[in-house]
Every structure is written in C-alpha cells, then in structure tokens.
C-alpha cells in the first residue's frame, strides 16, 4: 500500500527544529575539527615564512653541527644551531634531574599516602603552582636566584644553566606531579586490594604493584615535562644568560632555541635570511615538541589497549 501525499507530509519530520538541528550539527562538527585545522594551520604558516630559506641558503649540516649562530655578521652570516640545541637540551636536562624525582615523590605521597583534607589541599596547592606565569618565573630567576647563585657558588654570573634549570624544574614539577598522580589514580583499586590481601605492606604494594602498573603513565608525565622544557620561552630567555656557548659546566651561560627567536625576531627585516632562519628554528621546535607529545600519547594509549 502506498501512502497518499497527505500522509507523507505528516510523516515528513523536516520542520524548523529539524533544520536547526542539522545546522547545529554542522557548526559543532566544524568546531570539533578546529583543533586539527589549527595544528595544521600553525605548521603551514610557519613553514610558509621559513620555506624560502630552507631551499635557498639553508645548510642542514651547518645547522646541526656548527655552534656559530651569527646571522647578523655582515661578511659571513652563519646559521649553526648546535649551541642553541645544546643550550635547550642542557637546561631541560638539568630541569628534569631536579624535577622528576620530586614530582614522582610528591605524586606518590599525594596519591598513595595522603588522604582526606591533606590530599585535597596539596592538590589545590600544586594546581596553583602550575598557574604561575613563565615571565614571573623568569623574573624570579633574574632577580632572586641570580644573586643567590653568585653568592653561594662564588661565580661571576648567576644567569646560567643552573639558574634556568632550577627555574624550569620548579615550573615543570607541578604539571608532572598532576599527570603522574592521575596515572597512579588510574591503577584500579582491586590491584591494591589483591596485593594487601596477600599480606603485602603499603610500601610493597606501591613499589611492586602500583608503580609497575602506572609506569607508562609516569613515563608520559616525564615526557610532557620534557616537552614543556623544550618549549619554554620567557623564563629561559631571562634566566639562562642568553649567550651562545656550548655548555661545559652548569655555571656556563647558554642560549636556548626558543629564547633566540624571542630575542631576535623583533630586530629582523621581514623576508630577510635572518627572519626566515628564525622561522626554521620554529619549524624545528614544532616538530620536536610534536614528536614528544605524540610519543607520550602512544605510551599512554599502549596501556589502554593492552
């Protein structure tokens, strides 16, 4: 039996609400994929500004092996980023040495030992620490830590790997603590109960059961901390001394990749080799942090799928 045209009109649910629903669905979908659009947009636009240099005068061997970053030299400008890469790496490395043990320790204390009010207030405190802006951290390195380092270690300059590393460590620690604590919380309570039922003491439960089970999450926390260290700009610019050096001790001043862009971009002419070279540094930073974040994500996803 076929429906008459009148019946079809009744069955047709495409009223105004139906159309509004469809329009919203499209708008929301566009919003949904905006993050993908933006991440691609960032790569496209920084590449667009730097690509000319990559194909004209960029020498990858010089870029990765020469410590001479002298783009403003009038007769022989060179674009070696080795010292900058090592500067970033040394500061981030020291920051991790400072921050990783304390972050993991604090996460274990907050997640496994503390309870009730103590736990809540500690979590709030850590969250507040993570909110302090990087320019304020840079200022702290510059005006509080700088004279302390000069005084304590009897060195001429207090703006060095040590200063920037400690500042960066203090910055990264709250974030790593939060993520590590989440990773510990994700370990099912049944694991703990099973171990306790076998007669294990609290510390045995933590070291033999909880930590191994949370290992990928903890690794991701450290990786995200490293990513943060690589990308940190203002604090490193202000606390590291900003002089081009291959660091041989923690009292050497260094210059970071991010800080180089921040300090020099304002002084370059649009489209010049120097300007484009700074965008190439940006592309390099983008790719490195992308890789670090991707790895952290894969590590976390690895446990979920298992």
């Amino acid at each position: 039996m076929r429906a008459s045209p009148a019946d079809q009109t009744i069955l047709d649910r495409r009223n105004l609400d139906w159309y509004i629903d469809k329009v919203v669905q499209v708008l929301v979908f566009v919003g949904g994929i905006s993050a993908i659009i933006f991440i691609i947009g960032i790569f496209v636009f920084i590449t667009r500004e730097g690509i000319g240099f990559i194909f004209s005068s960029w020498d990858p061997i010089e870029f990765f092996t020469s410590p001479r970053w002298a783009p403003t030299s009038s007769h022989n400008p060179t674009y070696g980023a080795l010292a900058l890469i090592l500067g970033t790496a040394s500061v981030t490395g020291l920051a991790m040495i400072v921050a990783v043990p304390f972050s993991l320790g604090a996460a274990i204390y907050i997640g496994e030992f503390a309870s009730g009010k103590t736990r809540e207030s500690l979590k709030v405190l850590v969250e507040l620490l993570a909110a302090i802006p990087s320019v304020v951290w840079g200022f702290i390195g510059l005006s509080i830590l700088n004279p302390l380092i000069i005084q304590w270690f009897n060195v001429p300059i207090g703006l060095n790997v040590l200063n920037a590393g400690v500042i960066l460590g203090l910055m990264a620690a709250p974030i790593m603590t939060t993520i590590a604590e989440d990773a510990l919380k994700a370990v099912p309570d049944t694991y703990r109960e099973a171990a306790e039922a076998m007669g294990a003491a609290r510390w045995q439960v933590i070291f033999k059961v909880v930590l191994p089970a949370a290992k990928p999450g903890l690794l991701a926390a450290v990786l995200l901390g490293v990513g943060r260290g690589f990308g940190e700009t203002m604090a490193v610019l202000m606390a590291s001394g900003h002089s081009i050096n291959i660091p041989t001790s923690i009292f050497d001043s260094v210059r970071a990749l991010t800080a180089t862009i921040a300090a020099e971009l304002g002084e370059t002419a649009h489209g010049s080799d120097h300007y484009q070279a700074l965008f190439v540094l940006g592309i390099f930073l983008f790719l490195i942090t992308f890789l670090i974040n991707l790895t952290a994500d894969l590590v976390v996803r690895g446990i979920r799928n298992r």
């Binding site: 949904g32 994929i33 960032i42 667009r48 507040l128 302090i132 802006p133 990308g231």
Partner: protein, 289 residues
C-alpha cells in the same frame, strides 16, 4: 590474638620511612615556591597603591604606574575570550555529544594535546605569519588576541568537555524519548547542567591568557605606548610584557618597581585560579546526582 611479629614491625618501620621520604619531597616541591612568593610580596607590597594601578608609567618607565598595561591586558583577554569561547564550546560539544569512537575523534584528541604542547614562541611565529601578515591585521590587539585564543583553546575544550560528560546519560535519553532533537537536548539539558563547569574552565583560561608573554610580543603588544587602545586594530601595552621590559630592557629601574608589577600579575592569575578551584569544589558538593 594477633600479635605483631618481627616482620610486621619491620614493614611498619619501612612504611613510616617511605611516608616521611615522600612527604619531604612534597614539601620540598612546595616550600621554595612559597618562599619565593613571600619575597615577591615582601619586596613588591611597598610599591603597590591605588595610584600605582591607575597612573601611567613615567620617566622612561622607571617611575609611575601600570594603568595602560592593565587596560591592555583586559583588552587582550576579552577579545581572546570572545574568539575562543564559541569555538572551544563547539569542539567540546562535538567531542562530548556527537563524536563516534573513530579515527577522526582520536585525531582531534591528539591535535588538542599537541596544540597545548606547541611552544608559546611557535604560537607567536604562527601569529606573525597568519594574523599579522597573511590576514593583514598588522600588529594589533586582534592579531595578538587571536594568537592567544588558539593557544588557550585546549584549556576551554578540555574543561568544557569534562563538564558536559559529567551530565548523566539518562538525562539525555529522557529528553530524546520526549521527541526532542539533539540540539534541543543540548540547549535544554546538557548546557544548563554543565554551564557552571564551563565557567570554571573559562576562568582558568582567562588566568592562563593573562600571564602569556611570548605570543603577544610580536603580534600586538608594545613596549611602551603613551595612550590607551581605542579599537582592536591598535597596539597595546600588556602586564606580562611590561614585566619583561622593565626587568630586562630598561636601565635604572628602581628595585621595587618590577616586584610590584610581578606581584600584581601573579595576584591576578592566582586569584582567578583560586576562584575557579573554589567554584569547582562548591559545585562538586552541591551536585544532585
């Protein structure tokens, strides 16, 4: 009767030891920051006054107040919020209400994580390449705010999505059973029940935006401007950049001045975070389901 054996006692001692060790580590994480905040307040408080907040910097920024920077930061944050809020809420709606469990959703989540992880100076380069040059906004509040908006978008998306996912599925099903469309369900059920959670996310985003420096350095914030911005196409001063400038670029700044600026900046950020956290706790306590 159960008696503590030698092995029980040993375990208990070890546990106390570890509790102390990890507790110490937690304290060592928090203590230096507390000390630093103490120093900031000690050195910055004498500079603060209503006059400091409401007057212009004078004498090559070595004296006077921070009014233009304060106003500029409010401009930047407001425009960034207007730009990022609709996009962020739409993205969260998609992820919470529409997204199927497929590769696209995984890609979106990965993109959000990466967007949050892109270095701030790379966001600045993007802002220069896209907004200042390609879209020809010039160095302006608009370009700086859009850069900030994209940078802080993950904060809005993540917290809004969490608030929406906390609305029980049964609420939605009840609404659908009444014949409501998806949008009607979202408008009448999901949004009203998650609006306060969204608000805490917004406050968090604002506090993040206030402190950012690198993304606005080359896109719209100026070292010094003797006048207040009149439209989004003007440049402006900003609190965060002002702190950077007077502590590194300007000679002969009296010692207290940058401490005062740092204190105002940190007070703005921390108070907003505290409000957001308190709000979240209040909501958790009064939750009906």
């Amino acid at each position: 009767m159960f008696e503590a054996t030698e092995i029980n006692m040993r375990h208990r001692r070890t546990e106390v030891l570890f509790r102390l060790l990890f507790g110490m580590m937690t304290i060592l994480l928090i203590l230096p920051v507390a000390l630093i905040l103490g120093i900031l307040i000690y050195k910055g408080a004498p500079v603060l006054s209503l006059d400091f907040l409401l007057s212009e910097p004078t004498n090559g920024m070595t004296a006077g107040g921070i009014f233009p920077a304060l106003v500029g930061t409010i401009w930047l944050v407001a425009v960034a919020l207007i730009a990022s809020l609709p996009v962020g809420v739409a993205a969260a709606l998609y992820l919470s209400e529409y997204a199927p469990n497929n590769w696209l959703t995984r890609a979106i989540n990965l993109a959000i994580i990466n967007l949050a992880g892109v270095p701030s100076i790379v966001h600045a380069l993007f802002g220069v390449g896209a907004f200042v040059l390609f879209f020809k906004f010039g160095t302006s509040i608009l370009a700086a705010s859009l850069t900030l908006a994209i940078m802080t978008l993950p904060v809005v998306i993540v917290s809004t999505r969490e608030a929406m996912q906390a609305v029980p599925q049964a609420f939605r099903e009840a609404c659908w059973n009444m014949g409501a469309t998806r949008w009607q369900t979202i408008r009448r059920v999901v949004l009203p029940n998650s609006i306060s959670g969204i608000l805490t996310g917004v406050i968090l985003e604002v506090s993040r935006t206030v402190g950012e420096t690198a993304p606005i350095m080359f896109t719209g914030a100026a070292f010094f401007l003797p006048f207040l911005p009149q439209s989004v196409f003007d440049q402006t001063m900003a609190m965060s950049l002002h702190l950077f400038v007077i502590s590194t670029q300007v000679p002969n700044v009296p010692e207290g001045l940058p401490y005062g600026v740092a204190l105002v900046l940190i007070a703005m950020v921390l108070s907003m975070n505290a409000i957001s956290i308190a709000f979240r706790m209040y909501l958790r306590n009064k939750k009906k389901w």
